[in-house]
Symmetry: C2
Subunit: 407 residues, 2 copies
Amino acid sequence: MSKVNVVVGQSGGPTAVINSSLYGVIKESFAHPEEIDKVYGMVNGIQGFIEDRYIDVKHDMTEEEIELLKTTPAAYLGSCRFKLPEEYSDAIYPLIFKKFSEMNIGYFIYIGGNDSMDTVHKLSVYAKKTNSSVRIIGVPKTIDNDLTHTDHSPGFGSAAKYVATTVRDIVMDASVYNADSVTIVELMGRHAGWITAASALARKFENDNPLLIYLPETAFSLDGFIEDVRKALQVNRTLVVCVSEGIKDAEGKFICEYASETSLDNFGHKMLTGCGKYLENVVKERLGIKVRSVELNVNQRCKEMLSSLTDIEEAANAGVYGVKACLNGETGMMVGFERSDENGYHINYVTVDCADVCNQEKEVPAEWILENGKGVTKEFIDYVTPLIQGENIPVMENGLPKYCYRK
Amino acid sequence: MSKVNVVVGQSGGPTAVINSSLYGVIKESFAHPEEIDKVYGMVNGIQGFIEDRYIDVKHDMTEEEIELLKTTPAAYLGSCRFKLPEEYSDAIYPLIFKKFSEMNIGYFIYIGGNDSMDTVHKLSVYAKKTNSSVRIIGVPKTIDNDLTHTDHSPGFGSAAKYVATTVRDIVMDASVYNADSVTIVELMGRHAGWITAASALARKFENDNPLLIYLPETAFSLDGFIEDVRKALQVNRTLVVCVSEGIKDAEGKFICEYASETSLDNFGHKMLTGCGKYLENVVKERLGIKVRSVELNVNQRCKEMLSSLTDIEEAANAGVYGVKACLNGETGMMVGFERSDENGYHINYVTVDCADVCNQEKEVPAEWILENGKGVTKEFIDYVTPLIQGENIPVMENGLPKYCYRK
């Protein structure tokens, strides 16, 4: 069997560990010199690959840079948001496979979320249609944890750890004055509340803050919220509330839309405001109490120094397993996590059909959400706790984390 | 000489290291059993003390809790914002000193910023007036680094490290797409730009982002800013800008005030918006480009896991030195940092007169700000770099930092 080359890409929103998966792909590829020759990295995903933008890892990266990938946030190769056309008759497909052929690509590995798995699926279908031998494999990545057919996705554990530690710090900070106050923390998650649910880990003891947690999976009532806040303040002078950016009312309208509709910027235009800022204004108006909102924003997906070691290791393993799947002749599959908690937390790496994964979203199961819709159950805590274990200490230089980046 | 008791308090906004100073005060007090008996902690500063709210450290804290203080953010004792009256004839003064007498307080140690040093000054003046032997000492604390007569203040190093690492992460995150984009990071600092200036440390190489940094010390021009952004985008597709919350125009009007004046919330009221959000809207309107704003908010002062070990140690030393100053018979003084860079960075702990410190603010010196007003000089980098050295690993439990807190 003649040797083939690997091409690997990163796609969609960055995470703290997407480079760790890239590390896994590179290391495992180079561990099979009999089968694999070069590893190419698409710059800006499939979009850049089409435009002939790629690197040759062995040629363009030093050993040190490859090692640094493990603890470098964001996407070393650059990312894209690019959806392949539905029609396989589109000229883009033969163009891509012509490049595969010219570059002697045998294995195509794509690290990403829903949309990226759609790319993996489509390329694998096209390969089948055209009897191409190129094997197409997806490696999961999303802070949102909304990929189906896997216990969880690389990126989520670090986001969860960031949120849990940061909300714990915010609760400490919010509690110093002997005065009534409300702090609203807006967390990522447009459709699925996994990240917001992880804020429950911040509690140091039962009935600690955050006392109220609202996920997009449950209909949000503004009046109910104000009543919840009023009641909670009767017991605790300091109240910390966590809300998902994607909370919506019973009609399915995003709460943040209410803000945009009614807030005008200085040009008379609608001002895009998060739901946290909106709720801050509502609490101020209705309860006349000291209130602050905090939006954790992109830090949820890029705070390398607060990432989970478990997540980093699993992300690397997922990359490794992606290469193994190619070597085993698989295609059109995504690496999935099969979990066992019998003798302590353990992950089996498997492959699942991308056709089943792409364009779907996994929400927090209803049975893990409290019946009153204001928090999560112990089952969720048991689910998420192993994912945040272990601290990642990046390589430090002069008091700051050292990262690798394309020159 | 008979033994006296110490009373220690925390005041003003919390920081990542104000508890480390408390740790220093407690440990040093207990190291002098011949002179010092009990250590009382005012709950919610002088305000709580007046209301008879305090703890007896030896009785109310375990050894483990005392050790945890070193790496617990916010204010263990609780804080207050309380200014003593200007008139020494006010009944509050004899009330406080009566309590001192009843509790056999010999040393009063107050950890805080400008306003707290005002408290230290006033109490020491009153003690002198009334021939009280109580010694009153201040221990500096402020993330803003605006205290005069000290090279820097505990709290700033950790805020600077948090900002530097976080902006570095945000730059990584912002750079993944092959598209023009602007990210505006709003940082703390209403009157002094120290924290915002520290974002310059985030650069991984010359001409790396953040490419534009605006401090409150320099007049901010909206037209000039838009022109700066336009020019920067001609060279870099990804632009990250750091602005201080307190930037103001040539007339001294805060930029965030423009936003509040022109943004209405859903009740028709002025909406309090930061300058970052305001600038985001202006960039979107005038340049029609993808733009995002990120406000780092309270995380700048409470992110324990990203704090500076140097800062933590200096904060503890400042607490220790505060007790030593009392033992040496000093009063009305604040612990100050005298710096030498001759044979490597070194701090000498000294005392400075609170009368000179209180109600003043130290801005970033004009000679450390670039002439074009869009960044800082190498002198500032040399100044701040030693302050962020060393990583603090808090005690971890189940993947999360373990903190101590009053039950």
